[in-house]
């Protein structure tokens, strides 16, 4: 088992296993939280394809928008925001 790392999700700190995807970390830490809301219908969205082709799992990482959570590994101190688009 690797050492857990700390990151923040919407301002709150969580401890997650190092090296997993942000999508996996969100599934562990905040399972009921949608990742974003859709542009037209403002409907909640989450991970769909899990392999980087559907672009549904977009979150904000360290201020950068539209990051695919399924294709991004967590880093210590990472700031994750599940923001409405």
């Amino acid at each position: 088992m690797t050492e857990p790392i700390e990151l923040s999700i919407n301002g709150r700190y969580h401890s997650v296993p190092a090296g997993i995807s942000v999508a996996a970390a969100l599934r562990l830490a905040t399972p009921a939280l949608p990742l974003r809301v859709s542009h037209r219908g403002r409907e909640p969205r989450g991970v769909f394809c899990g392999m980087g082709v559907c672009f549904d799992c977009l979150i904000v990482v360290d201020g950068m928008k539209d990051v695919r959570s399924c294709m991004t590994a967590v880093r210590p101190g990472m700031r994750i925001e599940t923001a409405p688009t």
């Binding site: 996996a24 037209r40 909640p44 991970v47 769909f48 392999m51 559907c54 549904d56 590994a73």
Partner: protein, 460 residues
């Protein structure tokens, strides 16, 4: 940024791409392998993170990755091809920058993704592809939910169920659209080498999944901000039944080839829903309709892992041979590989026919259902466009925006095709597909400009 020049550029680092890269390299060609993930293996041989327990497929992947490295295949992991030009030039991007690659030949081994059908509620968080659930579990060691339902069609649902069960998942039900058919057993009976694998799968899943349902489709998924129930209904018609208390719904109907690169390079494609839909046509040596472009693995028609390995090796050898390199073992080796490929394909393609999507998938009862997830285009809008005269995917795209969004029509392809072909009385082939455009993935504009500037500088 320097343009790196190679004999062969292999796009896709799954079983087919890794085999192609090693094969071409062994003939003496210089080879670069480009893959979107940080580790090779693709989907079939996905590698667990450091603390994970490797599956049999992961062990195969480790061997393939190590072999490629051992033979001196250069690798660009974590890079996605965003542009491809004749001649050939490729532009890739990764998390921080990009790379420019020039190659005399391209092997497109871009694989496939889960093929999905829309239903009311399919955009809810917690509804994901079977592949997404498998990847969360196998690579990241995280279960997609505490109480999971798998629904759709095909053996992959069972394979995912096994992966999840091995990691302690609670699976409430597995819902298969087809009914058990004699053809399923007859097909398996002809391939004794598959019996052990099939038996392991069948026994583990039937013992640990309390409900295995045949002949039913998802009618709707429900929940407020997250899925918490799914209703299923018999294929022929009949009352729906609701399964409550779930938090993950994993869906899929086999796989759909990822034809973005072959489309961009103007390769010819053919349509066959039993092969996943639109796929690149390739001859026995992997040659596509474009000289210098080879296809390997699922992109040439969904057939399974063994054909991917074999067609990859063939494409790699032929790409090198066509560039003037000698194939170790010569024509004899290739003939043997082609023979093995033909046999291996029969198994996977037979499954593809047996589990081909049912026409009833087109019968989505609620016209407000979103078919194009990215642009949020409803079934009603697609039908309206059909009534207004649209008879091609491209027209549907330009009139409704369906297929213009981030996923470039991957997730909505089957649903829109099923809806439109039924409404118009067309065949899937006649509806066509949308040609890929640069960039092949949505990219951050600032980053793209930086990459393009760097590439421009290196050419002047």
């Amino acid at each position: 940024m320097n343009i790196r020049t190679f004999d062969v550029a292999v796009i896709g680092g799954g079983p087919a791409g890794l085999s192609a890269a090693t094969a071409a390299r062994r003939c003496g060609a210089s080879v670069i392998l480009i893959d979107a993930f940080e580790q090779g293996g693709g989907q079939y041989c996905m590698q667990p993170l450091a603390f994970g327990k490797p599956s049999a497929q992961a062990h195969l992947g480790q061997r393939l990755i190590a072999e490629a490295e051992l033979h001196g295949v250069e690798a660009l992991y974590g890079h996605e091809v965003i542009a491809a030009y004749p001649g050939f030039r490729l532009l890739t991007m990764d998390g921080t920058g990009g790379a420019a690659v020039a190659a005399r030949a391209i092997v497109a081994a871009t694989g496939a993704h889960d093929r999905v059908a829309a239903f009311p509620g399919w955009t809810l968080p917690g509804v994901m592809t079977a592949g997404a659930g498998q990847r969360l579990a196998k690579v990241h060691g995280v279960l997609p939910g505490a109480r999971i339902v798998l629904a759709g069609s095909g053996i992959f649902l069972w394979a995912v169920a096994l992966s999840l069960l091995e990691r302690g998942a609670v699976i409430t039900a597995l819902v298969e659209a087809r009914r058990p058919q004699a053809a399923m057993f007859g097909h398996l009976a002809a391939y004794p080498e598959r019996w052990a694998e099939a038996w392991t799968l069948f026994r583990a899943v039937s013992r640990n999944v309390p409900r295995i349902v045949w002949g039913q489709l998802v009618a709707a998924a429900g929940g407020t901000a997250h899925v918490d129930k799914v209703s299923i209904r018999p294929v022929g018609g009949g009352p729906a039944e609701t399964i409550v208390g779930i938090d993950a719904l994993l869906v899929g109907h086999g796989f759909q080839p990822n034809i973005d690169v072959t489309s961009l390079l103007d390769c010819r494609h053919a349509f066959d829903e039993s092969l996943g839909g639109w796929h690149a046509t390739a001859d026995a040596d992997g040659r596509t309709s474009v000289p210098g472009v080879y296809g390997a693995g699922e992109v040439t028609g969904v057939s399974g892992a063994r054909p991917a390995l074999l067609s990859g090796e063939i494409a790699g050898l032929c790409a090198a041979r066509d560039l003037g390199y000698r194939v170790p073992g010569g024509g004899g080796r290739l003939a043997l590989l082609r023979w093995r490929l033909r046999r291996a394909r029969r198994f996977g393609r037979g499954l593809g026919r047996i589990f081909a999507p049912l026409p009833e998938l087109a019968d989505v009862p609620d016209n407000e259902t979103i078919l194009c997830r990215c642009e949020e285009v409803s079934r009603a809008e697609i039908l309206a466009a059909c009534r207004d005269g649209a008879r091609h995917m491209h027209t549907l795209k330009t009139w409704t925006r369906a297929g213009m969004g981030h996923c470039q029509g991957r997730m909505c392809r089957m649903s829109i095709a099923a809806c439109a072909t039924a409404a118009l009385g067309l065949e899937g082939r006649e509806l066509g597909y949308n040609k890929a455009r640069v960039p092949l993935r949505p990219v951050n504009l600032e980053r793209l400009l930086a990459v393009l500037d760097a590439e421009e500088e290196s050419r002047t």
